[in-house]
């Protein structure tokens, strides 16, 4: 059924704050789907984090692609970079008790995406990474 779902496509250059362009599109899509303000805000926050991760993974490939797939009861968003990939299993779950005393305070993106969306899946290889995340209506 994937082929029959309307898709909004967006290509972003890796430039400062360009993730905000993605959130503007997400807001329009969420409104089209009649999602609540709360869900729309959660989608935007998760999307910001997914874009930032993709920007950081992109290496010399200076753009990322985003697909918003509008299904009957769910919004599916895919964020794809053409970087060198990453191993999700090697990403530690951040804990504030450790971060507060650590030199590295960052590393919260995946945790936020998982908490804010209904499902999150990663496909990663040496040719790039695709994060697929969904939000139910």
């Amino acid at each position: 059924m994937k082929g029959s779902s309307p898709v909004v496509e967006l290509t972003l250059p890796v430039l400062p704050d360009m993730e905000l362009a993605a959130t503007k599109t997400a807001e329009v899509v969420a409104k089209h789907m009649d999602l609540s303000d709360e869900k729309s805000a959660e989608i935007s926050m998760a999307l910001i984090e997914a874009c930032i991760n993709a920007f950081e993974h992109s290496g010399t490939n200076k753009k990322i692609e985003i697909h918003f797939r509008i299904k009957e009861d769910v919004l599916e968003i895919q964020v794809t970079d053409r970087g060198k990939g990453f191993d999700e299993s090697k990403v530690n779950i951040p804990k504030i008790e450790e971060k507060i005393v650590s030199d590295r305070k960052r590393g919260w993106g995946l945790q936020l995406i998982k908490e804010l969306m209904d499902s999150v899946e990663f496909e990663s290889s040496t040719e790039g990474t695709t994060v697929t995340m969904t939000k139910k209506k």
Binding site: L20, T23, I48, E49, K95, I96, I100, W108, L112, L116
Partner: protein
């Protein structure tokens, strides 16, 4: 691309920093710089008014964790008020509420922090 600005004022012993714009790494650094300057002058209680920062990212919020760590060294406190629901949720997921306080209003915040 995004503009971020802060306004700093003092209410007694409490420093109130009002932000305007996307709280990303640039915004976080501006807040931290303002806090550290005030810490140098002996201030240790800080409040962030985030009414005009309804969009944040985890890098900007991570810098707030740096500020909390710094304030712990000075027996200080960090609090917030006027948070958008998604910002409050983000702070909660990241655990900031274990080491800093979200207040419902400026009045409550100043009363509790003073």
């Amino acid at each position: 691309m995004s503009d971020f600005s802060i306004d700093v004022k003092e209410e007694g012993d409490v420093v109130i920093i009002s932000t305007d714009g996307y709280l990303n790494n640039v915004g976080g650094e501006k807040i931290a710089e303002a806090c550290y300057e005030k810490i140098e002058t002996g201030k240790k209680h800080f409040l962030l008014n985030l009414e005009k920062s309804t969009v944040v990212n985890s890098i900007g919020v991570s810098i707030l964790i740096e500020i909390i760590e710094k304030l712990q060294d000075h027996d200080g406190k960090l609090g917030y008020f006027n948070l958008a629901p998604i910002v409050e949720k983000t702070f909660s997921i990241m655990g900031l509420t274990k080491y800093s306080t979200i207040f419902t209003s400026e009045g409550e915040a100043i009363a509790e922090m003073s």
